[in-house]
């Protein structure tokens, strides 16, 4: 069969392929890049001239060199913060994943806490963290660490689980326990998955650091952005956006290269495409599965307040939140403001979320059918998925203005790029044999899409959709805060500026709950679908 593999790998796959297919990818990407730059320059100098919105790339470059030291100092500051957060967040995630792997009983509880952390709305958590860590770099680093925690935890656990059973059996046959198996087999086997997780963590850490700067830093790109917006330094906003993109993408690529160097045997994989964990059957198990995480999260909540000895003025317990929502004198008012705003947020977020997912699938299909387009545009898409939302937001406002559509657009962007990358990768992994069968009947594009590409991409789509639930809500609240002033994001910011900590905690609790429920709904849909599409193949 080896000759077949060679043949399929290098044979001209599609008859009637476009001439552009023969152009080297680098050349194509460069050509597209130059075209984009030229269009950008043209727009900035004509349509958007004097708008203080779009700067021509030439001026952006000039500005960068003029203020190079300033930019590099701030970039260094944010990057350093992100690096510390990256380090601590990932170490914690990997350590806890190790614990969960060695002591399976704890798995569900640790997972629940990790997911809850992932679903916490950053913009409301930042000020609360600031009250614990005080002024300085504590909040940005903590936020950055929290931002990477969940994805790395999932990736590490997946990595530990993918250890070959036969190797584990060998360890066991020598009479050694789980710890030895973990040390000798699982840790090593987990490297590829962990690398995939760390890749995603790099841009996330950067985002956490930049949001954290809003809690009163003296340096960093986040603050510089706010200052530049206020001072009409349009070039500066674009320099920052480009630098952030380069650093975040660079982190992503460096870790990817590191992974290929460390484990050249391992296939490229994306943690966004990791299937949801399966439920054990049985009513008792399900009940335990449902209750244990809830109890653990509440215990964690109380422990958090107790350990940090936060004053009651700021610290609200689950009981306080309950009281504020249902028993206090102004409970009805709180409910109507929080849930009313939540409704707005969920509506705009759902629109953007669905639009982003559909757009991603459609684009992935286009890419898989028109390879030269993919080669030209995919590198850009990979880069764009790493841009911190804080930096993208002003750019999106530039094109869609400020309004409900802004939130929708930002959420769509948040869910679009990761889903596109995952779905395309999945479609690209469609077994050659299936494609050969289709080709042998001269099946058209539509038949390829219907029978091969779309079904193959379904697991990746659902996994991406699941991860996109919390990230979309995060994007929505950031957009509401920075651009639209609607929804629960605005409620949280108003509550915070007015020191209304009851409403702040209620909002955080409700929004986190919504994100967790959304995550689990998609996870359940994912398991059902995988089970139905291909029984026995889901994990």
């Amino acid at each position: 069969m080896s000759d077949t593999a060679q043949a399929t790998a290098k044979a001209p796959v599609r008859s009637g392929a476009s001439g552009l297919d023969r152009v080297p990818p680098r050349v194509l990407s460069a050509a597209v890049g130059i075209a984009v730059l030229a269009l950008w320059e043209l727009l900035a100098r004509t349509v958007y001239a004097g708008s203080y919105r779009l700067s021509p790339p030439t001026l952006v470059v000039v500005d960068f060199f003029e203020y190079r030291d300033l930019y590099l100092r701030n970039l260094w500051h944010s990057t350093k913060t992100a690096a510390w957060g990256f380090l601590w967040g990932n170490l914690a995630a990997i350590a806890l994943a190790g614990v969960a792997s060695i002591i399976p009983v704890l798995r569900r509880s640790i997972g629940a806490v990790a997911l809850t952390i992932f679903c916490l709305p950053f913009i409301a958590v930042a000020p609360i963290l600031r009250l614990i860590t005080g002024p300085g770099n504590g909040t940005p680093i903590t936020l950055s660490a929290l931002a990477v925690f969940f994805t790395t935890y999932v990736a590490a656990l997946l990595g530990f689980d993918t250890a070959p059973g036969s190797a584990l059996d060998v360890v066991r046959s020598f009479g050694r326990g789980r710890l030895a198996a973990f040390r000798r087999v699982r840790l090593r086997a987990s490297v590829p998955a962990m690398i995939a997780g760390l890749q995603i963590a790099a841009p996330a850490a950067f985002l956490g650091a930049v949001v954290g700067e809003f809690t009163g830093a003296r340096s960093g790109l986040g603050i510089l952005t706010v200052r530049a917006l206020g001072a009409l330094h349009t070039e500066r906003i674009w320099v920052i956006a480009l630098m952030s993109t380069i650093v975040a993408t660079g982190g992503y690529m460096v870790i990817g290269a590191l992974g290929r160097w460390l484990c050249p045997w391992a296939p490229a994989l994306d943690v966004g495409a990791v299937p949801a964990a399966r439920q054990e059957p049985g009513l008792l198990n399900r009940l335990a599965a449902l209750l244990a995480p809830i109890i653990v999260v509440f215990v964690f909540w109380y422990a958090f307040l107790w350990v940090f000895q936060i004053k009651p003025f700021f610290a609200k317990t689950p009981l306080d939140v309950w009281a504020e929502l249902f028993t206090n004198a102004d409970a009805a008012e709180t409910r109507s403001s929080v849930f009313g705003a939540l409704g707005t947020t969920m509506w705009t977020t759902s629109l953007g979320y669905v639009a982003g997912l559909i757009g991603a699938v459609v684009t992935a299909v286009v890419f898989v059918l028109i390879p030269w387009l993919e080669r030209a545009l995919m590198p850009i898409a990979v880069a764009l998925r790493s841009i911190p939302i804080i930096v993208t937001t002003p750019v999106i406002i530039l094109f869609v203005g400020r309004g409900l559509l802004t939130t929708t657009a930002i959420v769509a962007v948040m869910s679009f790029f990761p889903t596109l990358v995952n779905c395309y990768a999945a479609m690209n992994r469609t077994p050659e044999g299936i494609l050969d069968v289709l080709r042998s009947y001269d099946a058209g594009s539509a038949a390829h899409v219907r029978n091969a590409y779309l079904p193959t991409a379904v697991p990746a789509l659902l996994a991406s959709a699941r991860i996109a639930v919390p990230t979309s809500l995060l994007g929505a609240t950031v957009a509401e805060w920075l651009a639209t002033g609607d929804g629960i994001g605005a409620v949280m910011v108003i509550a915070f500026t007015r020191n209304d900590y009851n409403v702040l905690w209620v909002s955080v609790a409700v929004l986190t709950l919504v994100a967790v429920i959304g995550y689990w709904l998609v996870a359940a849909l994912e398991l059902r679908t995988l089970e139905r599409m291909a029984p026995g193949t889901s994990r």
Partner: protein, 267 residues
């Protein structure tokens, strides 16, 4: 028995792949003739280009030199005319479809989606009654291969191309499927090319066994197999079967020494 399908004429076919920085010449000067309704087995050492040859005939790839003609049509025309059925070592079933809808896939692709009788006939022919609603993951390896073969036959192609379809199966299942393949071929009479590693399998099912040389591959020996049909398992125990297997084996052995010398007249 009704002989149908297209004759296949392969003349002087060569195919070279770019691989890494260099080139790999998979086939050079491949000649092969399969009569209409014939059953030819292609055998050769690993990496000799058997599968490449099959993909060329299937129109999934194009030769760099030489011609392939099937009753006046090129492989690509045959493929576009949807007159070819293929089955590979990997059954390549769609995991999200059931047995019957996997078989129906081929009909859908040729625009005969509603031909339910063809599907049920094929399921019966390959002995999968009762498993119509099962999904690939619930089937054994042998059953999956039956589905793949049923799928390749359901459109009643003029040419059936099998690339080691039973390569991954155990000996018992393999023999069983060889019997069924023979039965099906006898019933349908489709021109069939089978690529295989197994000499006994080739001798058991085919009218003619072609032995290929190592890369660059070409046909270096022809063995006409004229055992009467239907062939049964008793045949496997006979001396003449063994003699035929020995002869093919000797050719194959000889061919492996022929990497450098170019024998242009293999017969």
């Amino acid at each position: 028995m009704a002989r149908r399908g297209a004759p296949v004429d392969v003349v002087g076919v060569g195919r070279t792949f770019a691989l890494g920085g260099g080139e790999v010449e998979a086939l050079r000067g491949l000649d092969m003739h399969v009569p209409a309704g014939g059953f030819t087995a292609l055998i050769g050492p690993s990496g000799c280009g058997k599968s490449t040859a099959l993909r060329l005939v299937a129109g999934l790839d194009a030769p760099d030199e030489g011609t392939i003609d099937m009753d006046g049509a090129s492989p690509d025309q045959m493929r576009r005319g949807q007159r070819i059925g293929v089955a590979f070592q990997d059954p390549s079933l769609l995991p999200w479809r059931t047995v019957s809808t996997n078989i129906r896939l081929a009909l859908e692709l040729v625009g005969r989606r509603h031909d339910t009788k063809a599907v049920s006939d094929l399921i019966e022919l390959v002995g999968l009654q009762g498993f119509e609603k099962a999904r690939p993951a619930q089937l054994s390896g042998g059953m999956r291969q039956r589905v793949a073969i049923a799928r390749s036959l359901v459109t009643e192609p003029d040419l059936l191309l099998l690339d080691e379809p039973f390569g991954a199966l155990d000996a018992l299942t393999r023999q069983q499927l060889n019997d069924e393949l023979q039965r099906i071929w006898t019933a349908r009479g489709t021109t069939t090319i089978l690529v295989t590693h197994s000499i006994p399998e080739a001798v058991y099912v085919a009218d003619e066994v072609l032995v290929m040389s190592p890369r660059p591959g070409r046909v270096v020996a022809h063995h006409g197999i004229d055992f009467e049909r239907p062939r049964t398992r008793e045949l496997l125990l006979t001396d003449r079967f063994h003699a035929e297997v020995e002869a093919v084996s000797a050719s194959l052995h000889r061919s492996e020494g022929q990497v450098v010398q170019l024998d242009t007249d293999p017969s």
